[in-house]
């Protein structure tokens, strides 16, 4: 299989960056998108050129590292999928594919397709946690959780923090990411102690990092490899209102 790649190349965060065109022949249609980049990079190294920097780790759809906007869609054309789980058979032979990094002021490009997502870490540090005693793990069934709550919490907890929601949103908003964490913990008894502080602090950090606001376009849900629902955004809005009016001084 033959493909033409238009890849964003940028030396560092100061560099202006530009697209470079690469032609790849003899690709296996069952190769993954990242394996294609491995092939490209081997070719570039043989030619004495700088290989394309891209993020990846697990290559099995669970770590959330493989951030690429492929033909205008984060993680490519499939739904509920990550770039590492995207295979070349989903493209036409001879097709030209444009590959860009996540674009958001809060996710500055480090090099080529690699962006700095530590803004997400700072949002989590602002409130995306629960307090537990260290030592022996407690008996799992000692705190009861209604099945409906557990299911909804699980739909939010599957977030792998890849940032596709931000990349897909016209406002580069991190609402789905933040909402998933707020919603997940507000649905469970373990999240109760920090409930009000969590939503306020996480939203404050989100705003501070320069992510946009939510216009309810649903682009985030469509791009999310885990299919996290926008209903969590509504729950965040509700939680924020409760925190504002019900939290004791």
């Amino acid at each position: 299989m033959r493909l033409t790649l238009k890849v964003w190349r940028q030396k560092n965060s100061q560099d202006k960056g530009r697209f470079e065109v690469y032609h790849l022949n003899d690709l296996d249609e069952h190769a993954s998108f990242l394996e294609m980049f491995d092939v490209l990079n081997e070719q570039l190294i043989r030619e004495g050129k700088d290989p394309v920097a891209f993020d990846h780790d697990c290559r099995e759809g669970i770590c959330g590292m493989c951030s690429m906007v492929i033909n205008g869609r984060p993680h490519g054309p499939l739904t509920h999928n990550t770039t590492c789980q995207l295979h070349l058979r989903h493209f036409r032979d001879g097709e030209t594919i444009t590959v860009e990094p996540w674009r958001a002021s809060a996710f500055p490009v480090i090099k080529d397709l690699v962006v700095d997502r530590s803004a997400f870490d700072r949002i989590i540090a602002a409130g995306g946690f629960i307090s537990v005693n260290t030592g022996q793990a407690v008996e799992a069934n000692s705190i009861l959780v209604p099945k409906e709550n557990a299911d909804q919490a699980m739909n939010a907890a599957v977030c792998i923090g890849c940032g596709a929601c931000v990349a897909a949103c016209k406002n580069a908003s991190a609402m789905l990411f933040v909402a998933a964490k707020v919603s997940h913990l507000s649905l469970l008894p373990q999240g109760e102690p920090e409930r009000y502080r969590r939503v306020k602090n996480m939203v404050a950090q989100m705003d501070k990092e320069g992510f946009g606001a939510c216009t309810n376009t649903n682009a985030c849900e469509a791009a999310c490899p885990k299919g996290i629902s926008v209903t969590h955004i509504a729950r965040l809005n509700r939680e924020y209102l409760k925190a504002t009016f019900l939290q004791e001084e």
Partner: protein
């Protein structure tokens, strides 16, 4: 009051303001359209002019007018602030941008649609509201002795460019509401598997009825005067 401003100036609170003012404006549109439909009664504008007179002299309505203007102002200012901030969040655009099929065009263009509505509002308020309120002598009176706003409305829609401008603005309003109505409920945190389908459905019916109504009046008067 720090807790209040933390909320109102957060991206969540700003959207709450958009939603409350937006839904309030949605109720206003119902009243406005009901009034406009009175121009269709074949009584040379008697009912319409009497209604306009009532609306501009009843003190409860005059008070609501202040609320309405504040609502518009808040919605517009907050809308512009959000547009600017959201743009700044993505300083470098994508070379290729493909929206997922489930993403509506309206939702992606709320800012553009709102800006069109703002241009329309300035012209519209200047033409009808300011004239009838501040320089009513220019409009003359009807047989009942009320300001003849009816004649002004009918006359305005004898002009093709003016009618087209109205039609364009009402189409923009339609798209704005198509996304806005249900979006507002989510901004307020109101989303539930049992009620949200009804909200979405109501929003669509509301949008179609309101838009069709506002489109019908200028077109009717334009074609009646051909």
């Amino acid at each position: 009051m720090g807790w209040m401003s933390q909320w109102l100036f957060s991206s969540v609170g700003r959207k709450w303001v958009m939603a409350v003012t937006g839904l309030f404006l949605c109720t206003f549109l119902v009243v406005h359209l009901s009034g406009n439909l009175l121009t269709l009664i074949p009584d040379e504008g008697k009912t319409f002019n009497a209604f306009a007179h009532f609306m501009s002299h009843n003190w409860i309505i005059r008070f609501l007018e202040v609320v309405l203007f504040s609502g518009f102002l808040l919605h517009i200012i907050q809308g512009l602030v959000l547009m600017v901030r959201n743009r700044k969040s993505r300083p470098v655009r994508y070379a290729v941008h493909a929206a997922a099929p489930s993403v509506s065009w309206s939702s992606l263009n709320m800012g553009l649609l709102g800006t069109l509505l703002l241009v329309f509002l300035v012209v519209h308020v200047g033409d009808f509201f300011v004239e009838s309120r501040f320089t009513p002598e220019k409009l003359g009176t009807d047989a009942q002795g009320y300001v003849n706003l009816y004649a002004e409305v009918v006359h305005s829609f004898s002009s093709l460019p003016y009618t087209l401008f109205y039609v364009l603005a009402m189409v923009a309003l339609g798209f704005h509401l198509w996304h806005g109505f249900q979006s507002a409920f989510r901004s307020l945190g109101l989303m539930h598997s049992r009620y949200t389908p009804a909200v979405i459905w109501t929003g669509k019916v509301y949008t179609v009825v309101i838009t069709a109504g506002f489109l019908f009046i200028p077109l009717y008067w334009y074609f009646m005067q051909l």
